[in-house]
């Protein structure tokens, strides 16, 4: 029993989140006449969860102990690494609630707003479990919890045909890749006799398993994770779903669910396939599967495909979708060096990516609220007619490219430092060239905003006060972190600890 209480104490944020979800559903039923207060209940639940996430920082241990084998191993590993990603997910969720306040699309469905937030809470719950679960079955279950909610959310507004199409495409790709992942999990279970990552790691230390089957299983499992982070061979859904889904959900998918996917990938590889971490911080991979070559190929493919496909896009949402594929490629580079430095780079890059990507989506949303489209021609002359939005967009796009003095530069800098430290100069050069390519399509938007004369007088997009505050909340840290990034680096450094590995 004592074990159970300890476990419950460790998963307090998840418990609060579940209670908030239930309160939300109940309030939706009770106050079905007036749903004005539902978003505030959601916001309160998120803030409370955030407080508990912060209170949990520093806590570490296994929840729900399964076996007494080699110490105590549980279903969930609560550690600083997980807490970091949970904090990022909660920050994104809170911002998304504010996005939903000012999104026209979401304002049109106020009668179903309770379900909207309940589904978002379902997603958050799934993501919270993903970032800390160390059991393949629990990983699969929480991945599905997140996916099932997001399939519905992708087509939630049903205002246009493209909403339904996005939901269908997301569903079919998602169901296939999670099915493949499950088959891979069943093979790993057959090879090692366990679904717990630590036990699997122990079994693989002295491999008598069939390595070919293991490689096949690994590729299948990567299909499930790669779909979530939209990496190269599994990225086909991304542009269509990002374009078709309501923009708040697009922004959410591009940041939060990608964060969960990366947390899962890092934890999966680090706990399962790393035998030990040497004093310098390099991870020694088990000689059972060559993750390094696989991930190098995938990350180069991902960023090249993302960047080159983005060049021809005229729809801003679609362009940002390809740009988010490219960023997934950069983030994977942090993993392929297999060192603590690389992991630090991923953590820093992700926090920055969160701010700049959400900022870009917020501006696309504000303009779409006014003009009803995301076409690049509707941006002509906007920089002059609505200066605040224009300047903010320029800052976000410069940051997405990775140029100083914005935060995006710091993120890229740490990535390249990690790559050069690992003596992977060729890969670093390819990534650098990719950044140069990305400059073209980001600057193209700036060109349309400032240099192209609009055919008819562009309607001025004047953000109201709350939108201005929201925009400032996103712009300020992007600029600030570009010059004063030490707090973020310190926070990321303290979050490197993944439970159980010395």
């Amino acid at each position: 029993m004592a074990n159970l209480y300890q476990s419950l104490e460790l998963i307090r944020p998840e418990i609060i989140l579940s209670i908030a979800l239930l309160v939300l559903v109940t309030c939706d039923l009770i106050f079905h006449k007036n749903k004005k207060y539902i978003p505030y209940i959601a916001l309160g639940g998120l803030l409370l969860t955030g407080i508990f996430v912060i209170a949990n920082s520093g806590a570490s241990g296994f929840a729900f102990i399964q076996s007494e084998l080699m110490g105590k191993i549980g279903l969930l590993a609560i550690d600083n690494f997980g807490t970091y990603f949970k904090a990022l997910i909660i920050i994104t969720s809170i911002l998304i609630v504010f996005f939903s306040f000012s999104s026209e699309e979401i304002q049109k469905i106020t009668d179903r707003i309770g379900e909207y937030y309940a589904l978002i809470f379902g997603m958050i719950l799934g993501m919270f479990f993903i970032v800390s679960s160390v059991d393949l079955i629990l990983i699969y279950l929480s991945l599905e919890l997140m996916s099932l909610s997001s399939y519905v959310l992708a087509g939630f507004t049903k205002l246009r045909d493209r909403n339904s199409e996005a939901a269908l495409k997301y569903l079919i790709f998602g169901a296939i890749s999670s099915g493949l992942m499950l088959f891979g999990i069943s093979l790993v279970y057959g090879l090692t006799g366990s679904t717990n990552l630590y036990v699997i790691n122990m079994m693989l230390q002295s491999p008598n398993a069939n390595l070919f089957t293991l490689a096949f299983a690994n590729i299948l499992i990567f299909a499930g994770i790669g779909y979530k982070i939209s990496s190269a061979p599994f990225h086909f859904w991304t542009p269509d779903v990002y374009e078709g889904a309501p923009i708040t959900i697009t922004a959410y998918l591009s940041v939060a669910s990608k964060a969960a996917g990366f947390a899962l990938l890092i934890r999966f590889i680090k706990t399962t396939y790393v035998s030990f971490v040497d004093p310098v911080g390099n991870w020694q991979l088990l000689p059972v599967f060559d993750w390094k070559s696989v991930l190098i190929v995938i990350s180069i493919l991902t960023m090249t495909l993302g960047n080159f496909s983005a060049l021809w896009q005229n729809n801003l949402k679609r362009m940002l979708a390809f740009s988010s594929i490219a960023h997934a490629g950069y983030l994977l580079l942090g993993l392929v060096v297999f060192s603590n430095g690389g992991m630090l780079a991923i953590l820093i890059y992700f926090a920055i990516y969160l701010l700049m990507n959400l900022g870009a989506f917020l501006i696309v949303m504000l303009i779409a609220n006014k003009t009803g489209s995301e076409d690049i021609d509707d941006y002509n002359g906007l920089g002059h007619s609505s200066p605040y939005i224009g300047i903010a967009m320029v800052i976000f796009l410069i940051s997405l490219t990775g140029l100083p003095p914005t935060a995006g530069f710091i993120g890229k800098l740490y990535l390249f430092i990690a790559l050069v430290d690992a003596k992977m100069i060729t890969v670093a050069i390819i990534a650098l060239l990719n950044s140069v390519v990305s400059l073209y399509y980001y600057v193209r938007v700036v060109k349309h905003m400032y240099l192209v004369k609009p055919e008819k007088e562009a309607p001025a997009v004047i953000p109201n006060l709350s939108d201005k505050i929201l925009l400032t909340v996103l712009v300020a840290p992007v600029l600030l972190l570009g010059v004063y990034f030490q707090p973020l680096v310190d926070w990321a450094k303290s979050s490197l600890e993944v439970l159980g590995l010395m």
């Binding site: 079955i137 699969y140 279950l141 599905e144 099932l148 399939y151 519905v152 087509g155 049903k158 045909d161 493209r162 339904s164 199409e165 996005a166 939901a167 269908l168 495409k169 569903l171 079919i172 169901a175 296939i176 099915g179 493949l180 499950l182 088959f183 999990i185 069943s186 093979l187 279970y189 057959g190 006799g193 366990s194 679904t195 542009p239 269509d240 374009e243 078709g244 021809w312 896009q313 729809n315 679609r318």
Partner: protein, 103 residues
């Protein structure tokens, strides 16, 4: 007499998996694609149970299969709701005809 062993179950699950993937790739009707996905999930279930039974891994495999069955039902419910919505919008459910989101 023929002894049914692990190999037989694994062969069966491999066949089911391949049929599922084949169905997903070749079928145009969204409902048929979803049935292909069900085949993939169930082939994994057979794997889980066969490994647990013949590998003496305890009941963890059976429990995993139970979870997967429940999840497959939930997924089917959501999938059919989305397909129904597609039918209302486009008046057909052929995945290759629903491609208005293109560059």
């Amino acid at each position: 007499m023929l002894q049914v062993g692990l190999t037989h179950f694994l062969t069966l699950s491999a066949i089911l998996f391949s049929l599922g993937v084949y169905g997903v790739v070749t079928r145009k009707n969204a409902v048929m694609v979803l049935m292909g996905i069900e085949l993939i999930l169930n082939s994994a279930n057979i794997n889980f149970i066969a490994f647990a039974r013949f590998g003496n891994f305890g009941y963890s495999g059976q429990i995993a299969a139970l979870f997967v069955i429940i999840l497959a039902a939930a997924e089917a419910a959501i999938a059919l709701a989305i397909v129904l919505n597609i039918y209302k919008t486009f008046a057909n459910v052929n995945v290759d005809e629903i491609d208005h989101l293109k560059d």
